[in-house]
Symmetry: D2
Subunit: 378 residues, 4 copies
Amino acid sequence: MTKPLNIGMIGYGFMGRAHSNAYNRVSDFFDTEYTPVLKAACARNAENVQAFADNWGYESIETDWRKLIARDDIDAIDICVPNNLHKEMAIACAEAGKIILCEKPLAMNSEEGEEMCQAVEKAGVANIVWYNYRRIPAVTLAKQLIEEGKLGRIFHYRANFLQDWTISDDLPQGGAALWRLDAAAAGSGVTGDLLAHCIDTAIWLNGGVSNVSAMTETFIKERKHNLTGKVEPVTIDDACAFLCHFSNGSLGLFESTRYARGHKALYTLEINGEHGSLKWDLHDLHRLDYFDHRDEGRVRGWRSIHVTDGDHPYMDKWWVPGLQIGYEHSFVHQVADFLESLSTGKPAGPTFRDALETQRICDAVLASAESGQWTDVG
Amino acid sequence: MTKPLNIGMIGYGFMGRAHSNAYNRVSDFFDTEYTPVLKAACARNAENVQAFADNWGYESIETDWRKLIARDDIDAIDICVPNNLHKEMAIACAEAGKIILCEKPLAMNSEEGEEMCQAVEKAGVANIVWYNYRRIPAVTLAKQLIEEGKLGRIFHYRANFLQDWTISDDLPQGGAALWRLDAAAAGSGVTGDLLAHCIDTAIWLNGGVSNVSAMTETFIKERKHNLTGKVEPVTIDDACAFLCHFSNGSLGLFESTRYARGHKALYTLEINGEHGSLKWDLHDLHRLDYFDHRDEGRVRGWRSIHVTDGDHPYMDKWWVPGLQIGYEHSFVHQVADFLESLSTGKPAGPTFRDALETQRICDAVLASAESGQWTDVG
Amino acid sequence: MTKPLNIGMIGYGFMGRAHSNAYNRVSDFFDTEYTPVLKAACARNAENVQAFADNWGYESIETDWRKLIARDDIDAIDICVPNNLHKEMAIACAEAGKIILCEKPLAMNSEEGEEMCQAVEKAGVANIVWYNYRRIPAVTLAKQLIEEGKLGRIFHYRANFLQDWTISDDLPQGGAALWRLDAAAAGSGVTGDLLAHCIDTAIWLNGGVSNVSAMTETFIKERKHNLTGKVEPVTIDDACAFLCHFSNGSLGLFESTRYARGHKALYTLEINGEHGSLKWDLHDLHRLDYFDHRDEGRVRGWRSIHVTDGDHPYMDKWWVPGLQIGYEHSFVHQVADFLESLSTGKPAGPTFRDALETQRICDAVLASAESGQWTDVG
Amino acid sequence: MTKPLNIGMIGYGFMGRAHSNAYNRVSDFFDTEYTPVLKAACARNAENVQAFADNWGYESIETDWRKLIARDDIDAIDICVPNNLHKEMAIACAEAGKIILCEKPLAMNSEEGEEMCQAVEKAGVANIVWYNYRRIPAVTLAKQLIEEGKLGRIFHYRANFLQDWTISDDLPQGGAALWRLDAAAAGSGVTGDLLAHCIDTAIWLNGGVSNVSAMTETFIKERKHNLTGKVEPVTIDDACAFLCHFSNGSLGLFESTRYARGHKALYTLEINGEHGSLKWDLHDLHRLDYFDHRDEGRVRGWRSIHVTDGDHPYMDKWWVPGLQIGYEHSFVHQVADFLESLSTGKPAGPTFRDALETQRICDAVLASAESGQWTDVG
C-alpha cells in the first residue's frame, strides 16, 4: 500500500505545470512508498488558480498562501513563485513543519538563502530545490562516470546557457510571465535564471568553486515596464560570463545570455579529464558524448551515447531502447527520488543547503561583475 | 463540461502502457470535448491485468474480451494484442457498436483487413489504427511543408527502420514479449512490425505505391520456441528491403532489419523534390532537416529545425521553445486528434481503410520476396 | 636515387586535373622509388591541351593519341577520356607495352572489359583503374577494421551516391563537359558514373555480389543535345537503385541519383556486422563512424573517428592530428601505392581484372532494370 | 608571362612544409602575375636543410640566415622559425629590402612587434603574417556575410582552441619540435600559439578589443628540458581563458588549452547578431553553420553550409561541388592573395601592423592573468 503525500502548490506558471505533471505521472512509472496527492493549489487570482486546479486535478484552491500552509491536510508545499517570495514562504513553511519543494534559485541572494537553510534545518523538514537538470538521464550518467573515475584528474569545465528570446526591443519587462526580466522580482537576470542551473550541475559534477571573474551586460537599456506602464531602465543582466577556479584545480568557463540567435534553450556542458571527456546539451538531451582516451588509438572518437537503454539512469522505467523521453521527465525523476528520500531518510539533493552553494557563487559572480575584481566565493 | 469516453483496453504490454499513458495525459494538455476514462482492462491472466489496471488507474478488469465488449459502460475498445487476434476482436467490436482503436498493423494480411474495414464501415463506428509516427511533431511538420508545395515535384523517397536486438542466437522466439518473432502470432517479422510504420508515413506524405520488388532474409534459421520449448525453424523475416514506384512517379527504397548493430530503433525517412528535401529520424525525433534550394546559393544548407516552437504542430500545448518532448507524446497527440474527430465527425487517420492500404503494400512486399518478381500492389 | 616514370596523359578534363595534381604532389609527401614525370599531354584540340600542359608542367603535347602511345619516352599512359574510348586506347597501350592507369568505369560493358583484361594480361603490363575512394584514409581504415574481424559476420551493406546537379530541365546533354549525360559516350548514367564507385568499394570491403534486382529512371525524358543542337531523348539513367545478395550471405542496398536536392556528391556507405558497424560519407570524408557492440553497455555509442592521426592510413605523410586533408589526396595515395607496386611487383588494386567485377555487376544491374527480373552477376 | 618571385625560406619544420607546399601548388590553381620560385632554404643544420630542399625543390641551401638575406637573387624571405628569432630576422630583411612572409605570432611581445612594424614601414617592403585561418573558405564566407550585414548588431563572440597533446607528464619541453613548450623560444604557451589565431580571426570579423580579464594555468609544473637534460619548471601557459569587451559593444569569451581530451586541434568560433548567427570549427573546416532569424518561423534552423561550391570563396579554383579541400589549402590561398597584392599594390592582410593588434591583445591577456585585473588593450 502506498501512502499519500498531500501537496499544496503555490503558483501556476510554467513551473507549476511542470511540477504538477510530475506529481501526476510519477506513480505510473515509479514504485514509491509515497504517492503525491494534489490537495490544493494556491494563488491570489481565484479564477486563474481554479482553472489551473481543474486542469491538473487539484482538489481545492486557496488564494492566501498563509492559509494553505496552515492547513493540516497538506504535507508538502511546492513554492513556484517569483524569487523574491521564496524566503518568506519557505521560512513560514518550515515553521509550520511542512516539507518544502522550492523552485530555483533558492533565494534572491545568499543571505536570504542562509536564513532559509537555518529555518529548514531547525525545523527538521525535508527540503529540495528544483534544479531539475541533474536528473536528465544523460546528466546523471555523466555523474556516474565521473564518480567511477572514468575521466581521471579534471582539467577543464565549461558550460553555456544560450537563449534568444529577449532580443526584440519591443518586449516589455516585469509582471506576470515576464517577472524574470525584473530584478525586483528575480534578483538578477540570466545569472539566477540560467547560470544557476549551470552552476548547480557543475558543483555536483566537479566540486566547489573558489573564485570568479565575471562580466555582465544589459544590451537594451530601457523597456516598457508592465507594472507601471512606463519605459524604465532594465535592471537585469541580459548576459553574464565568468572565469573561475574549482577547488580541485580545474578551470571553469561559464556563459549565459538571452541574445544568442539560433539558440532557444541551449544549455551545454563539457568536462575534460586526463583519461576522457564528456559533453552534453539540452537541445539533444537524450544523448551524452563521451571520449575515452584509453580506447585503441586508431578507433578513438567521441561516442554519441543514445541514453535510452535499460541500464541508463531512470530509463528502465520508461519505454524500450531507442525511444526518447523529454524535458518534463527530469521533474518526474526528481519527484521519484524525493519520494524515495522520504522513505529512506537519506536526503535527495539538491537540498536548500546544497542550493545555497550555488547562490553563493551567483553572488560572487554578480559582485565580481560589479567590482571588476576576482572575487572569492563566500 | 467534458464528456467521458469510456475505454476498454485489451492487452497490457508495451503498447498497452503507451496507450494508457496517452489516455491519462491528454486532458492535462489538450482541450477536448471528450475525456478518456479508463473503465476496464482485459487480459487472460487476472493477476497480471489487475496489476496493470492498478498501475494505470483502470476501474475494473475482465479476463474474457467478449465480456468486455459486451459491457454497456464501455464506449471504445483499444485492441492491443498480437496481430493474429485483431480481426476477430475488431469485427466483434464493430458488431457491438464500439469505437475501435486498433494496434498496427491492422491485420495478418489484407484479406483480413478488408473484412475488418467492411465490419466497421457497416457498423458505422469510429475507428483508427495506432500508426503513431504521423504525430511526431517533426513528421507532422513535414506533412504540412509537402502539402504546401515546398518540395515541388517529388523524385525520391527512402526510409529505413533499423534495430539490432535479435542478433544473439540465444534469443528464443514466441510467446509473451517475444510474439513478434513468431509468424503465427505476428504474420511476418520486420515487414509488419517495422516497415509497416515506414509505409504508413510514406503513403501519407507521398501517396500510393504501384508496385514493389522485395527481398527478405532470416539470418538465424532456428531458435528455441517459448511455447513448445523446442528448437524450431524461425518463420519470420529478420530483414526486408524493397524498391518501389509511387503513383506520382517517384522512386522508393525501403529497408528494415533487426540486425543492424548500433541502431536501437532508427526509423529514418527522406524525401527529395525539385525545390527541396526533408529528412527525419526517430533517434532525434524532435528535429526535422530541411533543404530549400530556393535559398540564396552561397548560404544554402540543410537546416536542422528544432521542432519545439509554439508554431510547430502540437507544440503550443507543451513547454517552451527549446524543450523536447519524446516518443510517448505521439500517442497523446493521436488520442487528442481522435477525440477531436469524435466531436467533429471528421475521421482522424489512419482509419482502418487507410491502414488497409499499408497492409496491401506489405502483402505485395512479402509476395514479391517469395516470388522474386516485381509485384503490383493489390 | 629515384627513377622517373614518364607519364603520358590523354584528356584534360576534371579527372585530368585531379590526376596531374597527384603526379605533381606525390613525391613531396611519399618516399617512392619511382617519381612521375609529366612527359606529354594529349588531346585533339592543340590549343586546349597546350594550356593544360602549361598549367601542370607537361613537357610536350600530342594531338593524336596513337602517336603518344608510340613514343619511346613514355612509360605509362593515363586514360582520362569518355568511357567509349577506353577499350581501344587501353588495348593499344597494352600492345605497345605501356603501363596503364585508366579512368573508371573500366569500359562500356563487361565484354569490352574482358577484352581489355586479356590485353593487359597478355602484354604483362602493370595496370590500375582510378576507383580513388578506396584510398580515402577513412575508407582504408574501414577496410583494415573489417579485415581484422572487428565487425564479425556481416549482415548488411548499404550505399548511396546522391547528387542534385541535373534537376533543371534547361541543362543540355552530350559533348564536352556533359558527355556523362550521353549514353553513347558514357554507356550509362548514374550506374557507371556513381554506382560503380559504390560497387568497387563494396566488393573490396564485403566481397562479391551474387545477384541483383534493380530499377532505373529517367525523370526528364528529352533534353537539347550539344552535339546535334536538337532536342533528343535522354538515353541515360538519372537514377538507379538495386537490391542484392553478397556471396557472404549479407544483403545489399544501393541507390544513386542526380535528383536528390541538397546533396552535391553524397557518397554514403554503411556496413553492419554482428560485433559492430561502420559508416562513412564523402561530405565529411575525414571521419569514420564506428560502433563497437563490445564496448561497455552504458557507454556504447557511435564513435566519430577524426581520421587525421599518424596511425591512420596515409596520415603520417601529411600534417598533424586534427588537420584535414581533402578529396584530391585520394588520388595522391593511389599514385603512391601504384608507384610502390611497380617497385614490389605486387599489383595495387583495383587492377583491370578487379574493375571488371564492378563492370559485371553494373551490367547485371542494367539488365535487371531492363527485364524486371532478379539477375545473376555474370 | 608570369614573373618569378624568388623565395628564401628560413626553417624547415611543420610550417616550413606547409608554406613550401603552398608555393609549389599555387600556380596550378590560381592565375597570378607572380609565380613563387623556391630559390633557397636556410637552417643551421646543413644536412637537414639539404634534405628539406631536395624534398620540396629548393634550388640551393644556406646555413646562415644573414647570408640568405644578403643574396641578390632572393626577393622574399619566409620566416618560419621560433618566435624569439622573428624580430631580428624581420628587421634585417626589411633593411635588406626584402619582402617578408612571417610566421605567427608576429613577435615575442608588442614592443618587438612595434619595432618590426616600423622597420617594414620605413623600408616600404610588402609584408604579411601567416594567420592562415582567415583563408579557410568557410571563414572567408563568414567575413563576407558579416560585412554584408546579414547578422546585424553583434552581441556575442566566442572562440576556443582545444588540443590534448601535452597531457602526459612524460613529454619533455624545449628544443627542436618542442620549442613551443619553452617560453624562452615561444614567448608564451597556448596564448601565442593558439589564442593568437582566435584573436586574429576575431578582430578581422568583429573589430577591436577594448579590455580583457584573463586567467592562465600550467597544469604540469615541471618537465625534463631537452636543451639542458634536466627537469625544469615549465614556463609556458598550458591553458588560457579570457573575457573581453569588443569596441562595438559585444562581449567576447576565449579559451585555449592543450589539456582537453578528445580535441586534437578544435578551433571553434561563433558570433551572434540580432538577425543571425554563424559557427565554424576546424575539425569540419569545410562547413559553415548559419542561422538566419529572418527565415520563416516554422522552418528556421541552423543551416550546415557545405562550402564547396563555385560561388564560395576560393572554391571555383578547386574541384566540383561537394568535394572537400583541407587545411593546407588555406596556405595556398594566402600565397595567392599575397601574390595578387604584389600586383595590385593593395596589401593583403594581416600585415605586420594588423598582426601587431593581435600581439597587443595577447600582451593584455598575459598581463591580466598575471595581475588578476581587467586590463586595457594598449
